[in-house]
Structures are given as C-alpha cells and as structure tokens.
C-alpha cells in the first residue's frame, strides 16, 4: 500500500472520537409495533470469525433506531404499500399477476430467509431479484425489472417482509459450497486505491467510527434498507457497489456472479439474525 493511501486509511479510523454520533445502549432490543421482537444479537456459526453477530440496527443512533420500531414511522413502508398493489396487477402477455400463481403475498413467508440459493433447475446461484424477474419473463411474459428499479426494490421489500422475524438461514454447503467459497474470497480481497477489503471495515473495525459514521458488521439481514442518506429503499447489490466504490475501485455490477456469490457469503455471516426488511439505516 502506498504511503498516502495508508495514511488516508489510518486517518479514516483515527478520526474516530470526533463528534461521534451517540449510538444506543448495547442492550437495546428491537421490538417492532410493540409486539414483534427481532433477533439483533446471535451466536455465530462455528466457522464465523465474529464473536457475536450484531444487527446493523444496533449501530445506529436512538433516533434512527426508533424509525424502524413502528411500521407507520418506517418510511420504507410506502414502498411495501406500492408493491402490494403491484402484486395483484396483471401484466405481460400471459395477463397474470403475482397473485394469480402465488395467492396472498403471505405465501412468500420464508423465502427471503434462504436467499440467495442455488436454483435446482440450472445449478446457478440465484438472488430474490433473479427469481422475481424469472417469474416476470417466463411466467407472465412481462418485461424484466431493472435491479434497482423502484418496482423491483419495492417487491423485494414486500416479499422480504413476509419473513420478518425469521432467522436468516442460507445454505452454504452442498451445491452452494463453491459459490460460498467464491464469496468468501471476495470478502477478504482488498480492492481499490485504498486497498480495503470488506473485512478491513466490517470484521476488523465494526464498532469504531469511520469519520462520522459508526461502522457495523455489514450484515444484510435488513435489506432492502431505507437509507436516510438517499431517502429510499436500497438493494443489497447497490450497497455493495457503494462500498467497493468507496475503496476507489471499479465495482462489479448488480446481478454479477461476483456480487451474487458475495451476497451468499455475507448473508451467511448473519445466519441466525432476524430478517428485518424493510429496515432503516443511516
């Protein structure tokens, strides 16, 4: 690493104690609508390098945390409402809606908790977005949605919400094993001019401040996540892109084999935490 890049990287972690946004107390519990308790701390899987799995919710300020504790205060729910309408809207040459095959959206319960997973039909690793688009193009005869289009992100929020509270439980063995290994490789690979890997921030330095921001473990159990920064729901791969870009690297594309494998590996690092979607973060 060049001297300058190193200085910048160290500077980023050193600036820590300045004006740190107060994070909530460590014992905070996430109870949504006064009744649904989320698992925000979990024992790690045996292979995990983390001593304890911590939801990103724990790293936010009390004010931000509160936005997720009531579905009428969580701005992500306007997107869920929008997806409810789309769910029963017939589209495409088949004139079918999601509801025509799947019935109530509640039938999607459990789906998000195991995504991404290997598609048994073709042996590929598929994310929720890929399954949705496959339905649209193959069964509905409709146009596929852009990865970060409002319609897609809203629909992933609606489907993920059906699994809210269930522990993330992605498979990493069997057919998934090679994808998981590939994702792990990426997780520990330093990228960009700053030569930072995912692990440098989210494994080695979670809990520290990166300038004004409180670093989390980079868990993805809350996705899609409503970010205060851009005031909309954000997909997992869009977030990956932001992180990689901030290391000053060329990024992979949404839906690329690299990000799909990385999604599996990062999801597995949160196996045991609740699906929180749509969550609210900085």
């Amino acid at each position: 690493m060049g001297m300058l890049a190193k200085a910048a990287a160290i500077g980023a972690f050193a600036a820590l104690s300045l004006g740190q946004a107060a994070s909530a107390d460590e014992d905070a519990r996430l109870i949504i609508n006064g009744e649904e308790e989320m698992i925000v701390r979990a024992a790690p899987p045996a292979w995990s390098p983390l001593p304890e799995l911590l939801s990103g919710w724990l790293f936010r300020t009390v004010e931000t945390q509160r936005l997720q504790m009531d579905d009428f205060e969580n701005p992500g729910f306007t997107s869920v409402d929008s997806a409810w309408e789309t769910w029963s809207l017939p589209e495409g040459s088949a004139g079918k809606s999601c509801a025509d095959c799947h019935g109530d959206a509640a039938s999607m319960k459990g789906v998000r908790a195991v995504m991404p997973k290997v598609n048994a039909e073709n042996g590929e690793l598929w994310t929720l977005e890929m399954y949705i688009n496959n339905c649209r193009t193959e069964r509905m005869g409709a146009e596929s949605w852009g990865w970060n289009s409002g319609s897609m992100v809203d629909m992933t929020a609606l489907i993920s919400l059906q699994s809210r509270g269930m522990p993330v439980n992605v498979a990493i063995d069997g057919a998934a094993a090679p994808f998981w290994e590939a994702g792990k490789e990426l997780y520990y690979t330093r990228t960009g001019q700053l030569e930072l890997s995912c692990a440098n921030c989210h494994e080695d330095n979670y809990g520290n401040m990166i300038r004004a921001d409180h670093l989390s473990q980079g868990q993805i159990n809350g996705f899609p996540v409503y970010r205060l920064k851009n005031a909309k729901l954000n997909s997992i791969h869009a977030r990956f892109k932001g992180c990689v870009r901030d290391t000053r690297a060329e990024t992979y594309k949404e839906g690329s084999p690299e990000f799909t494998a990385l999604e599996l590996y990062v999801a597995s690092r949160g196996n045991g935490l609740s699906v929180e979607a749509p969550s609210v973060r900085n």
Binding site: D70, F72, E73, P75, T78, S79, D81, S82, G150, K232
Partner: protein
Amino acid sequence: MAQIKPRVKAPKSVAAGEVFTVKTLINHDMETGQRKDKNGDKIPRQIINMFEVTFNGKPVMSAKLEPSISANPYIEFEMSIQEAGDLAMTWRDDDGSVYEASNAIAIG
C-alpha cells in the same frame, strides 16, 4: 416516482376527550429547488406544501411545509374528540395535486 399514496395510523375508537396520536407518512421526493441535474440545470421545486386535518369538517390542525421537510414527509400530531366521526387529511402538492385519506373514529 411511484404513485403517491399516504399512510395513516389512527385509533379506530377512543374515549371522549382522550388524547390520541395520529401518524401520517406520504411518499414524495420533496424536491427543494436547490439541486441541479446532470446538465447543471436547476431542478424545479416540487414539494408537498400543505397538510390539513379536519374532524367532521372542522379544522383540527394544518402544517405549512417548506423545502426543509425531509423526503417522504412524516407528520405526527395529538388530538382528542368528543363525538364519533370522520378524520380527514389532505396533502397539497406544488403541482396542484391533492392527496387524501380519511379514517372513521368511534367513541367507545
């Protein structure tokens, strides 16, 4: 922007005179008029500029909103009622659009 639609949480029934909370949220970019697009042209202001609440037709509260209100405006307020009736809410957009929601509240 997706279709603009408000979300409202209000109790279905309350005791006469009991103070209760109403939470409202509407999806809207609240474009400030301060930003420029990729060509350097100013993006015109377009916000929800007014939120009005009536109960059985009588004004309960209103909020004149400025561009300093966050995207997807959230407004929460407290009120009480003496009789059952209809809580009606209106959001007014700079472009002339009006978005409405109403909730029936019983005394019980």
